[in-house]
């Protein structure tokens, strides 16, 4: 990376907006916020050339806390906002952030099709397996026997969503898992995700200390994946289907070309379009 640009070097804190986060102290999202600033600093991307896009949820508050452009939209539609922005403005670095409910439940359809479309952007999912903002209901990634969700007091009894497996099957071009407790490692992975062409997804295990305090143990349970990232989707699928969701690192690097229509005018005057109507 170029560390000798004409613009002054931007430290990680230079990417913070100064708005104080409302997240619960102890929340994993603080670490991810730090990781994003470190990744952006690592790449020395100008804040004005970056847009952080989100939906609704605790982690979807992310844009407000960064000094980049941002959009905090409605629940579940971050990837659609981000797609429109990136297709319209390919010069920008576009990063979507959000939680497991926002991305895989209400926004599930957009997740599938954004993977398929493979627009050149990065999706950081802060996964805490719970709806924190609405007081701790089970989310798509919650384990079936978790009995503390008030809407599912006997557990959900249904299969948790496998974001990385589904992402791979749908065509995501870069797949990684991180832990918020590993702020520097997460930063590095996010930087790699931004650099990788096409749609990159990074699942960050980010504990909810209020509704899932047991997740504080994650930092002891996660471990770097014992193998290097593969570019073979079949191999990646086998690994993702058999790991217990606690291996971190870059798990898949694909090589599909990103979706990016060229926005280049080929006519002088809009009146030329009207010729087809002339009798």
């Amino acid at each position: 990376m170029n560390r000798n640009t004409a613009c002054p070097h931007i430290e990680p804190r230079g990417y913070k907006s100064g708005v104080k986060p409302v997240w619960c102290p102890g929340c994993g999202d603080f670490g991810v916020l730090g990781s994003i600033t470190k990744a952006l600093s690592g790449l020395q991307i100008r804040p004005e050339s970056t847009a952080i896009i989100s939906g609704i949820g605790c982690s979807s508050r992310m844009p407000t806390y960064l000094s980049t452009y941002g959009f905090h939209g409605v629940h579940g539609r971050a990837l659609s906002l981000a797609t429109g922005l990136k297709v319209a403005r390919p010069d920008l670095t576009v990063i979507a952030t959000g939680g497991d409910g926002d991305g895989f439940s209400i926004g599930g359809n957009h997740f599938l099709h954004t993977c398929r479309r493979n627009t050149n952007m990065t999706y950081i999912v802060l996964d805490n397996q719970v709806y924190g903002m609405t007081k701790g209901q089970a989310s798509p990634t919650t384990e079936p026997n978790w009995e503390k969700g008030k809407l599912t007091p006997s557990g959900t009894g249904i299969n948790p969503f496998q974001p990385l497996v589904v992402g791979l099957a749908s065509g995501a071009n870069f797949i990684a898992r991180c832990s918020s407790s590993d702020s520097n490692g997460t930063a590095r992975t996010i930087m790699e995700a931004i650099r990788h062409p096409g749609f990159s997804m990074v699942q960050v295990l980010s504990p909810c200390v209020t509704f899932r305090p047991e997740q504080r143990e994650w930092k002891k349970l996660v471990q770097p994946a014992p193998v290097e990232a593969t570019s073979d989707a079949a191999q990646a699928a086998r690994r993702l289907l058999t790991d217990k969701g606690l291996f971190t690192g870059i798990l898949f690097r694909g090589s599909r070309p990103p979706y990016q229509p060229e926005l280049k005018s080929s006519i002088e005057n809009i009146a030329e379009l009207e010729e087809e109507f002339c009798l």
Binding site: G70, L263, E272, L273, L279
Partner: protein, 580 residues
Amino acid sequence: MSRQSLSIALTGSGGSGVMTMGNMLLEAVAKAGWYGIMTRSAGPQIRGGEAAALIRVSNMPIESHDDSFDLVLAIDPASMGRFVAEIPLRPDSFVISDPQGGRRSSSLPESPAKVIDLPMKELAKSVKGGRPNMIALGAIASVIGLSETSIFAILKTMLESKGADALGASRTCVQAGFAAGADLLEFNTPQMQQDTDTQRWGITGNEAAGLGAVRGGVRFVAAYPITPATEVLEWMAGVLPSVGGVLVQAEDELASINQIIGASFGGLPSLTATSGPGLALMTESIGLAVCSEVPVVVLDVMRCGPSTGIATKTEQSDLNIALNGLHGDAPHLVLAPSSITDCVFTTQWAVHLAESLQAPAIVLSDQSLGQTRAIMNRPADITFMARRSVPAQSAGYVEENYTRYAIGDSGVSPMAIPGQPGGQYTADGLEHSQSGAPSSLPEDHLAQLDKRQHKISQFNYGEHWADIEGSGELAVISWGSTCGPIREALARMRDQGQEIRLIAIRLLAPERPSEMAAALVGVKRLLVVEQSHSRQFHRYLRAAYDLPDETRVLNRPGPLPFRPAEIMARLDDWGEGTGS
């Protein structure tokens, strides 16, 4: 010059090619210097269903169908029953039908029209590769006085790609039909003035709306296919790349609306087109565009609702959702074109307003405008282009202390575009302070509600808010495609010496109380005309405006269009107390 016109319906089913034939006929009359419209009507089948091409040609521009049809050509008489309500006939109307073409509809014998046999299928059989619709085309051309050569010219341009054999077979069929039509019936085609001075266009309302959008500066479209809006998208998908734009086929309407909000946030004027079901899905995010103050245009080509309703047929029943479908207090723009020509202007204006006011604009077109092809005068060029207020910059930087949602006089605050250094802010659907930071303080909520309302209310919309035509104590008020038959009814009554005012509203939201009061000065009796079962437009008018004591309503649901004569009848009845 008085209006002269001729109405022809072509019906068929199961691959009989009535639409192709209708398009050729319209093309031929256009080449002959006439004006015209052609509306498609179809059953629910993707292929092989009943289809009708409803054509009206005239010596002057027309916006609606006539009271009845002069001529019906039923390639397949069994198909005609489906369209009995849509094709009113008179005793002096003619129905040309194929005696071997299947059983005549049971409704047909009730028709007062004269039925004339033309063995189209048999004639087509005598030509290798011949088709009955080409026999019919020749016969119709001959009956209404078009030249054989003019039809040949159309065949050449429209069928060339199908190869010499197909073209040859079609020519032979047209010739055979032309000969058969020569002495088929005695028909007085009105004298059509040839108008060659004015530049004329052949265009559908859907294409016209797309053109208005591109003229207005739209360069990004995301949309999901839906009847009857799809042709807007098909046309725009074709042209946007040439103007440096793009159309993205999205996975659903939720994605469509959010993609255009994202693109517009990035600085590109953006639009989506949909119909009622899609608009319903989009409403949450249209509210996001209101709150985050991102300009977008949502074109709703209305069809019969609720739910899937009748997807292929027209209705003016999305007025309520367009005006009131957003949750919270969410000021936005609602506009409606009142003719196919106006689809160009109103959509272009909607882009201009959305961009100027940083607000979503919903444009209500409908199936009858969108899927009708018109031969019309080229719409005038309009000068306004999309204009979005952006923050002042010095030396490439947005000036210090830039505040995205600053409260100012106009309510419109400059909108920084990503890429502009110093302009960084977070657009938010959460209520926010002037800086854009989320806020749950009552004073911030009130200030931003006021701001968003004020910018829409205080804007000078000029005279475009409505077309006020004519004068008099008796007035008709309407909107959208319904204005077509009303205009014709009023023109006929004017010819009879009766002066009646028309108020055709183009800007449905925000309300324009003082302009409306001025438009209604001197009006004692007001007839509200709308194509909605629950009188949505009348309820809206009552809520928003002071109406004359003597106000009556002529309403019905889609899909049947209003006919000029029934509007005239309702106005004539006024004094007799038979109105609603």
